[in-house]
């Protein structure tokens, strides 16, 4: 396996090499301050100990802005056995080494401190917060409308209390989301109506009412809907409702 023994760098067509490297590591490092601002072309010629040599073209740009000279390689060969780099001006001045206190101890302690605070808060934060909220009175549970014993159930009242907020006080519905009940021909299918009120309707906003009302109440509200606002779609009985539960 052939080894590199010499690297020559030629800049801007000059016949004299700009840089010659004869020792490993064979890395071409250029200082941007050595060049004029603008585009430069460069040839890096790599000699191997078996007599072969490769001639590789590069293109780089140098800028002198705000008294800082920087460079950038714009084009380089696809395969190059040596690294070519332009040195950053700050690197030339040399960077100070890290300080253990500033760059390691303080950040580590800060991180641990925050973990301790977070851990403490996870365990005690919830108890202190629950002590804070005890002055909030619990919200009273809404009382469930009970069917008057033996008497007729008022379907209109149940509708006004439970249904009108979506279907409208006069069954007019709202937009495409809550269908109108007044004059809705689908109500002629009373089995469907009982099903919908008892079990709700999947994929829509209609919720099931079977758990919250008894058969009499559900029959009453359905009969109200079937006959109110000029509707005339027949009637249902509490027994029909019970059969569909």
């Amino acid at each position: 396996m052939a080894q590199i023994e010499r690297v020559e760098v030629y800049v801007d067509g000059s016949p004299e090499p700009f840089q010659v490297i004869t020792q490993a590591p064979f890395k071409v490092k250029l200082n941007p301050a050595d060049f004029e601002a603008g585009d430069h072309n460069m040839r890096v010629v790599i000699y191997y100990d078996n007599g072969e040599y490769y001639d590789q073209p590069y293109l780089f740009t140098i800028q002198h802005n705000n008294e800082i000279a920087v460079g950038h390689i714009n084009q380089s060969p696809i395969h190059s056995p040596v690294a070519v780099d332009l040195i950053d001006p700050m690197e030339q001045e040399g960077l100070p080494p890290p300080k253990v206190l500033t760059h390691a101890v303080i950040p580590t302690l800060l991180f641990l401190l925050i973990l301790v605070v977070a851990g403490w808060f996870s365990f005690y934060g919830d108890t202190s917060a629950s002590a804070e909220v005890t002055n909030i009175e619990p919200i009273a549970k809404p009382s469930r409308p009970e069917a008057p014993a033996g008497g007729a159930v008022d379907g209109a009242a149940i509708f006004a209390e439970n249904c009108a907020s979506c279907h409208g006080p006069n069954g007019e519905g709202q937009g495409d989301v809550f269908p109108a009940l007044a004059g809705n021909a689908n109500l002629a299918d009373t089995d469907m109506v009982i099903d919908t009120v008892l079990h709700g309707r999947q994929g829509t906003a209609m919720v099931p009412w079977g758990e919250q009302m008894n058969d009499d109440q559900i029959a009453a509200v359905i009969n109200y809907v079937l006959s109110a606002w000029g509707n005339d779609f027949g009637s249902v009985t509490p027994e029909e409702v019970a059969a569909k539960r």
Binding site: I78, H79, P96, A118, F121
Partner: protein
Amino acid sequence: MTQAVQSHPKLYESQKLARWYFVVAITLFSAQLIFGLIAAYQQIDPNFLFQLAPFMTNRTLHVNAMVVWLLVGMMGGVYWFLPKETGREVVGITLAKIIWWVIVAGVTVVVLVYLFVQIGPAKWTTIWFINEGREYIEAPRWADIAIVLWVAIFLFNVIATVLKARRITGILMVLIFDLVALGALYTAGMHFTVNITMDQFLWWWVIHLWVEATWEVLVGVLMAWALMYLLGTSRRLLETWLFIEVALVFGTGIIGLGHHYFWIGTPEYWLGLGGFFSALEPLPLVAMVVHAVYDAGGHRLGAVNRPAMFWVIAQAFGNFIGAGVWGFMQTLPQINMFSHGTQLAAAHGHLAFFGAYLSTVMVLVYIAAQNLRRPVRIPVSSKLWGWAAGLLILGIIGIGGAFTISGFTQTLIERAAGGSTWAAFIQAYTHPWYANTLWWRFWFGMVMLVGFVLLAVDLLTIGKHAELPKAARQPAVAAAGGGHD
């Protein structure tokens, strides 16, 4: 023919690990898009996958996948550049590899639990193992702890490498302190209290301070390295800008957090504080744009990697428009009074995450793609990258625009004109400006999906078939070599 050179570019172990970070990031990006599309379609037809995959689960996966893939992509970027910056292999790389595979396994488990368990009873076991229940940071507690541990090991990697290499730069110093904040602020999402105001107060530390402050600083660090690599920008210039940006991000952002405190039960002084400081928040983003334009102009865009350079520019403007303009649009208390919680927030979220973070990760993956395979011709380019970038950007502009119009409809019809009544709610949601934009979101999401497919193909093939001009077929070309750097 002599073969005096290695046949593959030499990568540090840390860069090989970064490659896995990028592969997982791009895979999760596809998951984000797919769950986002399902959620978008469920807005149009609520019956779609009704009981199998509820909208809330899809949205959780959409948002969580995004947070994870963007963070993974950016951390991958640090593992990529750290050995170049310090000039040596990352210290503790074995530990970094172990925690990485733990995180990958953890993410898989969390996704499966989201999909198949979804929710649990209101008990501590649910918080620890199923779903923490807080919007956007639903991850169960054990996964939260794993994430903090992951950041801790990441911090150790950086500090130990700096000490061992005996080299510190301004960029590395900013990175170290940012990682402290990155681990620390995430813990704020783990405090469970029964007081909803306290809960929201701390929740915003994660959503605003963690994502908007520590991530933005991380982006500053990564962009500094990317610009140095792509354009050869001087370190002094980059570090000066980085310090200015960090000062502005924290100076405006910490109290600017107040704009989230307007309506959650905090004292009234947050209206003034939050309003004033959040109005200053776009400043660091303006600084980043000026910086990018200054650099790119100074170097006449002579980048070594065309797609990466394109995404740098997209990042500068996307961050400013998405995070700055769309954020400022609704941040003043007088406007926020009517607009909070509408789809304007979703518009801001989509545009800001795309502009600030997705673009950053794109810069990083393209820089990595340039160095992962056989060395490729400089400047790196391909036929596909422009189409991929163009479709992704067209898609996000369409989605952001659709959300903006629906948010405007809600703000105007439901809130301002209708006074937040039930009838006004129905009126806004059935208004054509709202109902039709649901379709726009979906179709522009499809455009993004096509863009993603092109991106994936491009990343897998860029530089693979690098055609060399005849003149370049010199003996040197036959030997595969070490590439540009």
